[in-house]
């Protein structure tokens, strides 16, 4: 049975190894889609609706077409159709310069008959609200209901109950590199596209369908990409448009979204509102849970969230529905449905514990059947100094009050079939590993190098890793569901092992030893039963002569495992005069199986914590009911964490087994609840609505005083 071996036997796997592309990235040498320039390139731009809901009554592209330097103008909506959200595509241009393209957009004539709109959940659900989807009755989709056990009997058994409403707003992905493509038709039947995507083969297949080409005549390249978080699985309208403009003009076209469009149309995490009632028995068992909740995914549906979450409640009833508003569609966003569900559940857990007069960590222990998380509670509590928390919330003295809180999460991340890879050993000793995955930022490029180097007795920098290109025809799945490493690693390992085996067949006669008696050392191959018999790597590969070894890999179920638990502890300081919350420290204990590269695994956890912190304290899409506009479609008023917001983060790689598991998503889940509970512990007032901004803190403190 295949295995990753014992930790003590690993030379590289599980160690802290610097990202191979790190230097290129920090020096600006790494080429992202934004940086791609091709001979004869044109610049694409998209005209978007500024209004939330309207009939298109006229569209005239003539003046834009006549502007010198404009090479193509295409409509993206027909007269007679409706625009249903701000940012919806109207038309696109391709021009010799980006400035000409921008000027051309302003020459497009569009006549809109504005319609009543709704941009907030409250407005959408109000009586007499305008109907905004033709295929729905009203602006709410049918509730999905779920029932287990006997809720009424459960509440009858409860010693305490809590009734509360928790809300998280829409959060946008804020990819540092906005969505976009450079499209270039090599000839009428062959399209090459540089894409900022988290699914090279997904984009390839989509474009092939759209342009009715055999899939292998579309090549998609993503050498480096600046963030996706679930929003970059397909080419989208902008990708189709870039390819269309390129085909019309016979020239390469670069079309990257503006920051504003990125907020408006490139996806978001749906909002969540939960009205929940829950009960617990005197001895601290969750006994009943009744939740009615909704969220908006914009004009689409799909506003799901986890409820209840992590902790087991035997008697439960849940009812969820989607609310449509005139705003851009949701897309998958780092752990879809989990962070918002975790915030509500962990807040609820603290509220119940307080009513029971029980330590909130003790209450969690009673209701959490996961043994990994039980161990994490112990470790995390020790790291943060749980005993230092205020036993009476808000009881600290002084203007700046400190508090400590805890939150939990879970995820799958076990990987799956669908990756093909080749490992090639050349006669000159060079080694190549090729697969069609892409590095969304998790460090898969480095992980591949580590696995191959471990297998062949080389150094990661000796391995030439070729990913992010559909050209070689070795497919791999999209980077979603925290699946990349767990999907790719087994195939790479088996490919490297197969290549090694082939090399051993050449080396065996030289060392006069049977193949199964050969082992790799560090840059050597030796005979296990007689270690004096050894050959240097270069000498061994020299035996290949004119040939190379090139071996594929196979999926091996035994090398990976899904299902992770995580818990985080936060310490915050709340300035009770300004309402400002400063996170002092986060302890993130993340279950993760075998960490191929401990350094980038820690980076993953750090990044998740920062994203969770942003959602807890800063981020919110602000829609104006008056104008239908998003008021903060920029990075001035849409606030993401910056240097001053980043606390001390203690990322603990809690490796419980030697099988590969992905952790891209889970570390962003428990942060919200941990911070919200820490704020409560600091000031003794609970804020049930994210983000916890100074206005909410000051208002809550004023209400407490009154």
């Amino acid at each position: 049975m295949a295995s990753w071996g014992e930790a003590s036997q690993s030379r590289l796997i599980g160690k802290r190894i610097a990202r191979l592309s790190g230097k290129e990235k920090v020096t600006g040498k790494a080429k992202y889609t934004f940086d791609i320039n091709r001979p004869g390139i044109l610049y694409g731009r998209i005209l978007r609706s500024e209004v939330a809901h309207a009939n298109v009554t006229d569209l005239d592209l003539t003046r834009a077409e006549e502007l010198p330097g404009v090479k193509a103008v295409i409509p993206l909506i027909e007269v007679g159709r409706k625009v249903r959200f701000q940012g919806q595509e109207i038309a696109a241009v391709a021009a010799e310069t980006d400035d000409i393209a921008k000027d051309a957009l302003r020459l497009i004539y569009i006549e809109l008959e504005e319609l009543p709109f709704v941009v907030t959940e409250a407005d959408a659900m109000a009586e007499g609200a305008p109907q905004i989807r033709d295929d729905w009755k009203g602006n709410q989709s049918n509730p999905g209901t779920n029932k287990n056990g006997d809720v009424e009997a459960g509440f009858a058994e409860a010693a305490v109950t809590v009734e509360a409403t928790y809300h998280t707003p829409v959060q946008t992905h804020v990819c540092l590199e906005t969505h976009g493509h450079v499209a270039e038709w090599i000839d009428e039947q062959n399209l090459t596209v540089w894409a900022s995507t988290q699914a090279v083969f997904g984009v390839r297949n989509d474009l092939a369908r759209r342009f009715e080409l055999p899939a292998n005549q579309v090549r998609v390249i993503t050498e480096h990409m600046g963030g996706g978080f679930g929003s970059k699985f397909g080419p989208g309208v902008e990708g189709h448009t870039a390819a269309q403009l390129s085909r019309m003009t016979g020239r390469p076209v670069k079309l990257m979204l503006t920051r504003k469009a990125e907020h408006l149309v490139a996806g978001n995490r749906p909002s969540m509102t939960q009205h929940v009632k829950a009960g617990a028995t005197r001895d601290g068992r969750l006994i009943a849970y009744d939740m009615r909740g909704y969220g908006t995914g914009g004009i689409s549906s799909g506003a799901g969230f986890q409820a209840p979450y992590v902790y087991h409640v035997p008697n439960r009833r849940t009812e969820r529905f989607n609310v449509a508003v005139n705003a851009g569609n949701q897309r998958a966003m780092r752990a879809p449905g989990h962070p918002q569900g975790a915030f509500a559940m962990d807040s609820l857990m603290d509220e119940l514990a307080e009513k029971l007069g029980m330590n909130p960590l003790e209450f969690r222990r009673i209701n959490d059947s996961n043994e990994v998380r039980q161990a994490q509670y112990t470790l995390g509590a020790q790291e943060i100094g749980w005993h230092r928390r205020n036993s009476v919330p808000g009881s600290g003295t002084g203007i700046k009050k400190r508090g400590i809180g805890v939150g939990s999460g879970l995820w799958g991340g076990g990987g799956g079939r669908g990756t093909q890879a080749r490992v090639t050993i050349n006669a000159d000793g060079t080694v190549e590993a090729v697969t069609g995955t892409q590095d969304i930022g998790t460090g898969i490029r480095t992980a591949i190098a580590i696995i191959v180097a471990e297998e062949l007795g080389l150094s990661p920098t000796d391995i030439s890793v070729k990913i992010g290109d559909s050209g070689p025809g070795l497919p791999s799945g999209g980077s979603g569901g925290s699946q990349t490493t767990a999907s790719v690693a087994p195939v790479i390992k088996t490919a490297a092992a197969a290549a090694k085996q082939k090399l051993f067949e050449h080396v065996g006669p030289l060392l006069q030893a049977p193949v199964d008696d050969l082992r790799v050392g560090t840059g050597t191959i030796y005979v296990a039963s007689d270690r004096t018999k050894t050959v240097a790597w270069r000498q061994a590969t020299g035996l290949l002569g004119q040939e190379s070894i090139s071996e594929g890999g196979t999926w091996d179920q035994e090398l990976r495992q899904g299902g992770v638990a995580g818990t985080q502890f936060a310490e915050v300081e709340v300035d009770t005069q300004t309402g400002h919350v400063k996170v002092l420290k986060i302890v993130a204990v993340q279950d993760c199986g075998l960490a191929i590269n401990r350094l980038t695994t820690e980076s993953q956890i750090n990044g998740g914590v920062i994203m969770g912190l942003g959602q807890a304290l800063l981020e919110e899409r602000i829609m104006d009911p008056q104008t239908g506009r998003m008021l903060n479609a920029n990075l001035e008023d849409y606030k993401v964490p910056g240097t001053f917001e980043i606390p001390e983060i203690k990322s603990i790689v809690f490796d419980t087994h030697r099988k590969v598991t992905g952790v891209g998503e889970p570390p962003c889940i428990p942060t919200l609840g941990a911070i919200a509970n820490a704020v409560y512990n600091a000031i003794g007032v609970r804020i049930r609505e994210l983000p916890i901004t100074p206005d909410k803190v000051l208002t809550a403190l004023a209400e407490k005083k009154a």
Binding site: E50, T578, T627, R629, D637, G642, P694, D695, L698, A702
Partner: protein, 326 residues
């Protein structure tokens, strides 16, 4: 942005004559450009000509002597923040400058630009929203989302003035020199800023053909303590939710004179005479400082979303006063 011609300035006379016939918006001045460029990119402004002020000689230095400071309008925000004399004797000014934006912006943004920058209001900054400030009929903040808007002096335009440096200069009793076609004039920085009731379209008294050339700051008395406190949602870059520039002449714990100027809460930097009165001649302690805070906001008229600013401003004023005795 729309196309424009670009002229390098050679003299103040040339600048004012280039400006003189055009009214607002046709010919505009650019120095650091940190505010103007975003207005151009968003088509909030569409000038035909930009006059580059950075080529003007002699306007980019700080001189400090016993009578006070002279700071050219082209001095960068960073230079003000880092100047040792300003840090030592005009602390509130150095602190205010250091709180502006990010190092990159402070390195190019200028004093003149900081004082003349336009509002950050999210309705004003949206090209497609024709608000009152831009000649439309209504201030959208009134019935809209007003979290970052004014609690004092708003009517009829509820923007807040975004400058951090202006409250500090007013608290230090600074003056400002303006050049125009008729020559130069000097006025108090406090008199430079106007409220929307006087002019809903502009934030100061500058005429279309005038330019700020210098700021003069009298040297505070040796027993002066001064502070700039700025509350914001994010460490940087972020504009003030509310800020307080406080300048206190102290004898022991007694405040002889007090200057208290608020930022981020009104369409102009807002001198709180009420807070000053509450502190002047008093031994500063918890209750006196709390009274000063309450006095500062007693006329506040918050909107739907900015009631919190009343408490915040009150607390910041109290905190600033307490810093004078700590």
């Amino acid at each position: 942005m729309d196309k424009f011609s670009y002229v390098n300035a050679t003299s103040l006379k040339q600048v004012t004559s280039l400006l003189s016939d055009s009214g607002w918006g046709e010919v505009m001045m650019i120095a650091g450009g940190t505010d103007l460029l975003s207005e151009l990119k968003e088509y909030i402004e569409t000038p035909k000509t930009l006059v580059n002020l950075k080529t003007l000689p002699g306007m980019d230095s700080i001189s400090a002597n016993a009578s006070g400071l002279k700071i050219g309008a082209l001095v960068t925000v960073a230079d003000i923040a880092m100047h040792p004399t300003i840090q030592q004797h005009y602390t509130v000014l150095a602190q205010a400058a250091a709180s502006v934006a990010t190092p990159q912006i402070r390195n190019v943004g200028t004093l003149g630009g900081n004082l003349c920058q336009r509002p950050r209001c999210w309705y004003y900054r949206d090209e497609t929203v024709n608000c009152l400030k831009k000649g439309g009929d209504i201030c959208y903040a009134v019935n809209g989302l007003s979290k970052y808007h004014a609690i004092l002096g708003g009517d009829p335009v509820y923007i807040v003035h975004p400058s951090d440096i202006a409250p500090a200069l007013i608290a230090l009793n600074a003056s400002l020199k303006i050049a125009g076609p008729e020559g130069e004039k000097t006025l108090k920085v406090e008199e430079f800023f106007t409220l929307p009731a006087a002019n809903p379209f502009r934030e100061n008294v500058l005429e279309p053909n005038e330019i700020v050339v210098e700021v003069q700051v009298p040297q505070p008395k040796p027993n002066t303590k001064s502070f700039y406190l700025k509350a914001r949602e994010k460490g940087a870059p972020d504009f003030a939710l509310a800020s307080v520039a406080g300048v206190f002449e102290m004898t022991g714990k007694t405040c002889q004179t007090a200057s208290v100027v608020l930022g981020g809460v009104a369409p102009a930097p807002w001198r709180s005479a009420e807070a000053e009165t509450a502190l002047t001649g008093k031994m500063i302690n918890e209750s006196v400082s709390r009274k000063a805070g309450a006095e500062a906001v007693k006329d506040a008229q918050p909107m739907n979303d900015n009631v919190y600013k009343v408490t915040l401003t009150q607390n910041l004023v109290s905190r600033t006063a307490m810093m004078a005795v700590s």
